[in-house]
């Protein structure tokens, strides 16, 4: 079976010709390796002993009590090594890079979590790693910059465009085009040209596979709804995929409404965007009438992206996944709420998923089971949250 390159009309490879042979090489290597028992074993062993899988499924009792309706479970991806789901993907891709004989890896990062996960995976195998990061994000996510440097990665600030994730991706692609012979590009989300969206999805699917099994063990039934935040969309695809065939399970992606959808300052590519081509694939984008990409806005650097993975565009059009949004304010409130009620400080990204359930708490029937993907922990966000919440002078 060949690696999926289109999701309905979405996806594709809208990328300079120079890169196409490398994408062909990647697709071929991946097709071969994913069916290879040795590769699978190598990956599973790392997921188990290095990433720390399986991650727990946690019944958030006090949060459920507070909400009064739904019974909330959290899939604890925040307990993965490095603090987020991102390592599932980078460990998989670093193995691919090694099997393909690449001697250098590059990555882009927004919140820094993918950069840290890439640097970590690269350190594990002693492969030089360069991470592109927008100057604006470097300012917002200083902790992760330090972590990447400690892990031996070179962090390259990106000053072009909006100086955030989208520009970091542009710069990583430019590096890749220039160093295509020896360099592997570790994309951090289900975006980019084919075969990346399918590869990243496959490496993240472990989240949903575990959660589905754990849910059946805990409740002897499937959840009524699965909720996850959507920036590029890797943690959400990761947890949704295992439930796609379960018609009784509602799947909900939560986009960043930023300062409010009506203000235009948000990151809601599906809720408020239109079809277009960015970073190699056709999907939904924030753009003007001439196709110029607009800046996204979110308090969460990881959701501050004007596009979304092509499979999400497809799942939206198909109606299989419903997409909602919450504002910066609602996410901050959920950030505080989960910290106080459960002793878990969530990443601001993941706080969007929590906030969605809080916002719609009244819509659930008593006993409804909601599974939320807690994609990352919030240590990286404490400075920003403290400022926004007025905790520090």
């Amino acid at each position: 079976m060949t690696v999926q390159s289109r999701f309905g009309e979405y996806g594709g490879r809208y990328i300079p010709e120079t890169v196409i042979p490398a994408l062909d090489e990647l697709a071929e290597a991946y097709e071969h390796l994913r069916q290879d028992a040795g590769f699978r074993q190598e990956l599973d062993s790392l997921l188990d002993s290095f990433v720390g899988r399986p991650t727990p499924l946690y019944h958030a009792g006090r949060l459920s009590g507070e909400l009064g309706g739904p019974k909330v479970y959290l899939k604890r991806e925040d307990l993965c090594h490095t603090g987020a789901h991102k390592l599932n993907n980078t460990v998989g891709q670093i193995l691919l890079a090694r099997h393909m004989g690449k001697t250098r890896v590059i990555a882009e990062t927004g919140a820094g979590q993918h950069g840290v996960a890439s640097a970590t995976a690269a350190a594990l195998f002693g492969i030089p790693c360069v991470v592109y990061m927008g100057e604006e994000d470097i300012r917002r996510q200083e902790l992760n910059v330090v972590r990447m440097k400690l892990l031996g990665a070179e962090v390259v600030p990106v000053y072009s465009g909006s100086r955030t994730l989208k520009d970091a991706i542009n710069e990583a692609i430019r590096d890749w085009v220039t160093n295509i012979e020896n360099t592997y590009y570790i994309i951090g989300s289900v975006v980019g040209p084919a075969p990346y969206p399918a590869i990243v999805r496959d490496f993240q699917t472990v989240i949903g596979q575990e959660a589905r099994r754990q849910m059946l063990a805990a409740e002897d039934r499937l959840p009524d709804e699965v909720v996850a935040c959507v920036g590029g969309g890797s943690n959400s695809i990761g947890i949704f995929t295992a439930f796609l065939a379960d018609d009784s399970v509602r799947l909900t992606g939560v986009e960043a409404a930023g300062e409010g959808l009506e203000t235009g300052r948000h990151g809601a590519s599906i809720s408020r965007g239109s079809k277009g081509v960015l970073h190699g694939s056709l999907s939904y984008l924030l753009q003007d009438a001439y196709g110029q990409i607009l800046e996204a806005h979110s308090i969460s650097a990881g959701l501050d992206y004007p596009g979304v993975g092509p499979e999400h565009a497809f799942l939206h059009d198909e109606g299989r996944v419903k997409y909602g949004s919450v504002t910066d304010r609602q996410a901050l409130d959920a950030f505080t709420l989960l910290s106080e009620l459960e002793g878990i400080i969530p990443a601001l990204e993941s706080a969007h998923a929590i906030a969605y359930v809080v916002k719609h708490a009244a819509d659930y029937a008593t006993g409804d089971i909601v599974l939320i993907n807690l994609s990352g922990r919030g240590d990286k966000d404490v400075h920003q949250a403290a400022q926004a919440l007025g905790i520090m002078e």
């Binding site: 594709g12 490879r13 809208y14 990328i15 300079p16 010709e17 120079t18 890169v19 196409i20 042979p21 490398a22 072009s160 465009g161 989208k166 520009d167 542009n170 692609i173 430019r174 085009v177 220039t178 160093n179 295509i180 012979e181 239109s274 079809k275 277009g276 081509v277 960015l278 970073h279 190699g280 056709l282 984008l285 753009q287 009438a289 001439y290 196709g291 110029q292 990409i293």
Partner: protein
């Protein structure tokens, strides 16, 4: 007959002079004057860029010019109209990222391009496997879809690109983004030979051509020389538009001499 191929066929030069500037840079009127300098210096074909917010095939020099043009409010319509002012004098091709075409509406874009007399479209992020509809639509409107080929392209891809090509084939000199380079590497002749043996369409070389020596070298193997970043750098460095145009014209004159 393609107007572009016609110009290549009828020329007695070793290679055609094909300068590039970002549309609307530096300013609409400034760009207009730079384009006149191109023509005065003997340009055979002009390449005009449509500014795009995320030009991932471009190096820092072109990026900065497109960001400036966008900041100045230059739109796709402005660049189409600007191109239209010159298409009666010589063939003009647009360099345009695919999202600018997609969002404008492919047919509407091609219609506008045809109305303004454009000869070809270079779409750096639309490889041949994604270009089926686009190539067919270009032919309907009498515009050449300019295919790009890279040193990394395998022979079977070159064959596929050649099959879809008309006007000229844009040969990317080195793996990388646009920008002036000191050297184009030793592999260029072999690469161009791989392309040449699979097509009769003229070959133009771009990405990294920065001076007369390189232009002379390229003209031994190719039918056209595309120069962009070097010209934009000259505009950037000049104190005023007057001297920018003078410098560009002098430089292109020198290049043109070695291409004759």
């Amino acid at each position: 007959m393609s107007r572009l191929e016609d110009v290549f066929r009828k020329s007695s030069k070793k290679a055609l002079l094909m300068p590039y500037i970002t549309g609307g840079y530096p300013g609409m009127d400034g760009c207009r004057r730079v384009l006149r300098s191109f023509i005065d210096a003997g340009a055979d074909i002009i390449e005009l860029g449509v500014p795009f917010s995320d030009p991932l095939a471009d190096g820092p020099v072109v990026q900065a010019s497109t960001q400036q043009a966008l900041a100045d409010g230059i739109t796709t319509d402005d660049v189409l109209a600007l191109a239209g002012e010159f298409t009666n004098q010589l063939p003009v091709v647009l360099l345009v990222y695919y999202n600018c075409i997609y969002t404008y509406g492919q047919d509407r874009f091609l219609e506008a391009a045809a109305v303004h007399g454009l000869s070809g479209l270079v779409v750096p992020d639309l490889p041949v496997d994604e270009a089926g509809d686009f190539v067919a639509a270009c032919h309907v409107h009498g515009i050449d879809p300019i295919m790009l080929v890279a040193p990394t392209s395998l022979d079977e891809r070159i064959a596929m690109i050649a099959e879809n090509a008309s006007g000229f084939i844009y040969c990317v000199s080195v793996a990388g983004v646009t920008g002036a380079r000191a050297s184009l590497g030793d592999n260029l002749p072999a690469f161009l030979e791989r392309v040449r043996s699979r097509t009769n369409v003229p070959l133009a070389v771009g990405f990294g051509v920065s001076g007369t020596e390189q232009a002379a070298e390229v003209s031994k193997y190719a039918d056209g020389v595309i120069i962009g970043s070097r010209l934009i750098s000259m505009v950037d460095a000049a104190d005023d538009l007057e001297s920018a145009c003078r410098n560009v014209e002098e430089f292109l004159n020198e290049v043109n001499e070695v291409l004759k």
